[in-house]
């Protein structure tokens, strides 16, 4: 017997955002586990399905409680981080090819300037965290200089931003 429709029906009772985040993955994982367990025999398959459906039923109130007691911004952390995800409409091959050579087209000078900006920023944050305010002022000034240098380099190479 195919229990995927039952599983899908139970999933429909979960909060909508939870389903948006995980439904497709959960159905995929359940389907693959079902295939595997079916090969192990009827008893193993029955045990597996019972465990899965019971686990899902027990998760249901937990997820609703979490939904009602967690702020929207915290729950949104379950969404994929768009900075590391492939944008819609971009082909997989292109996206991963560019990821393998992320700065191939970027001059070394600009890459170094960007690293220097990050360095100044980190040191400024560390200085603030340790209440070293003269140090924080120093790295704040260095940060401004580094950003200005980066801006000029970008103009020099005709890069926007």
């Amino acid at each position: 017997m195919n229990f995927k429709p039952v599983y899908r029906m139970l999933l429909r009772l979960f909060p909508q955002d939870y389903r948006l985040f995980f439904e497709a993955e959960m159905l995929d994982a359940f389907g693959r586990a079902c295939e595997e367990q079916r090969a192990s025999g009827r008893a193993a398959y029955s045990r597996f399905v019972c465990g899965e459906l019971a686990g899902l039923a027990l998760s249901l109130p937990v997820e609703w409680i979490a939904k009602l007691t967690t702020s929207g911004s915290t729950r949104a952390r379950s969404l994929p981080d768009l900075r590391i995800m492939r944008p819609a409409g971009v082909r997989r091959e292109l996206w991963f090819a560019s990821a393998r050579t992320p700065n191939a087209a970027m001059p070394d000078e600009i890459a170094e300037a960007e690293q220097h900006v990050q360095f100044c920023l980190r040191r400024m944050e560390q200085a603030i965290a340790t209440h070293d305010f003269p140090g924080a002022r120093f790295f704040s000034n260095e940060d401004l200089k580094a950003r200005e240098k980066l801006r000029q380099l970008r103009l020099k190479y005709g890069l926007s931003g």
């Binding site: 995929d28 693959r32 465990g51 899965e52 998760s59 379950s78 994929p80 995800m85």
Partner: protein, 117 residues
């Protein structure tokens, strides 16, 4: 064994729950998607823990909210699939927990030796 976890884990210094610890341990070796996580957890617990999808994704949701793990798209899969990986904070929490467990084990072993002597 199917486990269901209700307790809120950490961030406040409490021990990690077993599913959370197993997920972090599995991801410490490399990124994985949901089904691969289920299989790996079963393997690293010597078949003792078989996490249901409800438990697994509930724990993954909490870990994403804590920002101990993050989602990304895996390149080397034929199917369209997102995978999970540890963040620096997740790795730090796992290291902290492993250290805590080592300390407990040392203390318990010392007590056992005292008793035997």
């Amino acid at each position: 064994m199917v486990r269901h976890v209700e307790e809120r884990h950490e961030a406040d210094g409490k021990p990690l729950s077993e599913p959370v610890l197993l997920i972090l341990a599995s991801l410490a070796a490399g990124p994985r998607h949901g089904y691969a996580l289920m299989k790996d957890i079963e393997a690293i617990s010597n078949g003792r823990v078989r996490m249901s999808t409800g438990t697994l994704y509930g724990a993954l949701r909490r870990l994403l909210e804590e920002q101990w793990i993050e989602r990304f798209e895996q390149e080397d899969t034929s199917r369209e699939k997102q995978a999970y990986r540890l963040t620096a904070e997740g790795r730090r929490q796992l290291e902290f927990e492993v250290e805590r467990m080592k300390q407990l084990t040392r203390a318990a072993s010392a007590r056992l030796r005292t008793r035997e002597a």
